[in-house]
Symmetry: C2
Amino acid sequence: MDAARFLDLVAGKLAATEAIFQRHLASDVPFIAEAGSYLAAGGGKRMRPALLLLASRLLGHDGEEEITYAAVVELLHNATLIHDDVIDHADLRRGRRTLNELWGNSKTVLLGDWVYSTAMRLALGHDNVAVIKRLCDATLRMTEGELLTLQRLGSPDLTREQYLDVIDRKTAHLFAAACGIPALIAPAQPAAGVALERYGRALGNCFQLVDDLLDFSGERQELGKPVLADLKEGKLTLPLIAVRDRVSRERWQEVEWVLVDREFRRVEAARILALAESAGGLEETVRLARRFAVEAREALAGFPAGPVRDALELAPEFVLSRRS
Amino acid sequence: MDAARFLDLVAGKLAATEAIFQRHLASDVPFIAEAGSYLAAGGGKRMRPALLLLASRLLGHDGEEEITYAAVVELLHNATLIHDDVIDHADLRRGRRTLNELWGNSKTVLLGDWVYSTAMRLALGHDNVAVIKRLCDATLRMTEGELLTLQRLGSPDLTREQYLDVIDRKTAHLFAAACGIPALIAPAQPAAGVALERYGRALGNCFQLVDDLLDFSGERQELGKPVLADLKEGKLTLPLIAVRDRVSRERWQEVEWVLVDREFRRVEAARILALAESAGGLEETVRLARRFAVEAREALAGFPAGPVRDALELAPEFVLSRRS
């Protein structure tokens, strides 16, 4: 089975999810309707809905409820992206102009609020409080992760531990929720829920490590944003944290220049890329991402073998191999 | 009974609400803890919690659940204020520096998100889905109200109808939710819920009309913000909408100057105040506020007479008489 084909098993339900996602971005408020349809047309990998649907199928569910939640996690994910782009002053995402770039910060902040509340309202339709609690907790962790990132912006001293805590909150918790929520659909399956949460969390951490790696290798065209964008925003990530103690004080100084200047003025981007490569920063990050991928696969060991478990086991490979 | 004393009946529960409100603004993320305690120390009228607690008592509830929801509506209200201040670039609220003024827009947007999710998480503790749905709907309406306001910023053509639709969404829906939620606490009391929602919605509209009036009369010290701040932000409110067709084209032009300039450059604030006063704009706004106050009181007619109903009947008077 090809890595990219891990979605085939849930293709029909993914299409249904997409329809719900798009339908819930409509409104009688003209701006919401306009920005909502721009957002809906923007696409995305739909990783979280796909995982939620696969996990649902693994647990034997075949109903409407998981389709709703799949749309909900994608809406929540989009709500956080909307606010993140405001905060990062990002002008491009997936190669398209961001909402804040098109409509300004004020309207975009409110649109993020609206998408978030819409997601929660949609989720509430199935009267399952446990699911709403799980979503709410994941949202709190994401917000905390973003706040910790902001608070440490420009800091050259960020430790591995702090970095890992941030990516766990910022990304892994929503992956964990997406994978764990199917175990909260009646009849609840608590033991399966623990395993699937563990799977999702490890996969989410793997995903974010790869995301941070892509900032060192991706092309602007593929990623829809410039190379070393994180560093230019003042964000130190593992590929550089890992080399801090391995390189000369002079060489590290170049990294700090970018954190201070927020641009490549005193040093070229190519020198920073070479540093992360030659001093083993990229290698360490890849190694850790692979370790999380293994952990994710191991979490599935207790489930019966078959095409659905195979697909979930392929997801970490897909994540590791992605180029954008 | 003195209008300001309508809170006495629920003083004990309001104190308990305040403790929950403050406790839930704590966090292991340093910035949240710092900004949260600044927010908690800021006080406020606590109108919505007081109404929720009085309505609960009217329905015979005497438990923990209504205290939780009272804290939740105050947290939700604060979350919207946090984002509103970012959007309006407000530097003062209730005479204190705003969070955005102190910590910048990015952190403040995320703090608003965090407070919102914290409110929802707290509300979920009682496993009452109907309450969460009601809160979610109120939040959606508030966000839409703010978006409609933004979209029409600077427009001199705003109609009475559009204005009333905006204050209804922006303010009245959360008041309605606060008053109606007690009817969703088990055992649910649907008929009482309809009456209390009607009471809260009318009271909320009354409250916002008075708020908009205060912009024409309040002192900077009392309100914690400058006079005619709305107009300077490009927001036309009823005291001016009402006079648009009654004054000369030249006189109305002066209002439009402020909407364009966003400052009193070509006309003095005193002339705008005099216009709203002399052409009957203030009077019409007061009259409409009083009509909503009557509607609120009438909605209580079906409830048994007694001190709790008396207190709820006094609330509109308190709202009409407030000076800050």
